[in-house]
Amino acid sequence: GAGVSQSPRYKVAKRGQDVALRCDPISGHVSLFWYQQALGQGPEFLTYFQNEAQLDKSGLPSDRFFAERPEGSVSTLKIQRTQQEDSAVYLCASSLGYRGDEQFFGPGTRLTVL
């Protein structure tokens, strides 16, 4: 596709459920980032992939958060045993190279944990 796509766009989960959020980056983009954006705040970094390698996961808030990009294209962010504080918009971005190129963003997945 022409841009970064994310699915689902909206997800409502009951506390304790597991969720999986998908990101399809722009074809050929090497770098992929996940960010979390709480209401009224700017995005915060979660994790970074260069192709299939997860080079930085320092932003993941707990071990309930797990991300993968097994073939270097599509990525999945999984949150286990969701908590109310996980409610946020999860943004995926990709960039062509790995040296600070412009990041292209998807529409985000709005997760609401009840």
């Binding site: 770098s31 980032f33 960010y35 700017g42 970094f45 040296r99 990041q103 963003f105």
Partner: protein
């Protein structure tokens, strides 16, 4: 820790007014600087960026920003705003030599009165 500060959380202007949105960052090394915009109902898109060279950069839709290294600032300007500029504006920074994760300001919601 590195941080990005945006001085105004909400700005309301009339059409044709001049705009300046402040952005300061706290990292002392070499950085790339970005302004992203999010129009209502749309995803984040790049407005302009500074990597090196002329500190006055021009972006899309008549926006420009000036990098002042001594002040750690990268303020966004537009001489005459339009109703269609109503959006949320985010300043972001990444560090040269890092994995190029973006560090974001909290955003400024700009409302232009017709």
């Amino acid at each position: 820790a590195q941080s990005v500060s945006q001085h105004n959380h909400h700005v309301i202007l009339s059409e044709a007014a001049s705009l300046e949105l402040g952005c300061n960052y706290s990292y002392g090394g070499t950085v790339n600087l970005f302004w992203y915009v999010q129009y209502p109902g749309q995803h984040l898109q790049l407005l302009l960026k500074y990597f090196s060279g002329d500190p006055l950069v021009k972006g899309i839709k008549g926006f420009e920003a000036e990098f002042i290294k001594s002040k750690f600032s990268f303020n966004l300007r537009k001489p005459s705003v339009q109703w269609s500029d109503t959006a949320e504006y985010f300043c972001a920074v990444n560090k040269i030599g890092s994995n190029y994760q973006l560090i974001w300001g909290a955003g400024t919601k700009l409302i232009i009165k017709p």
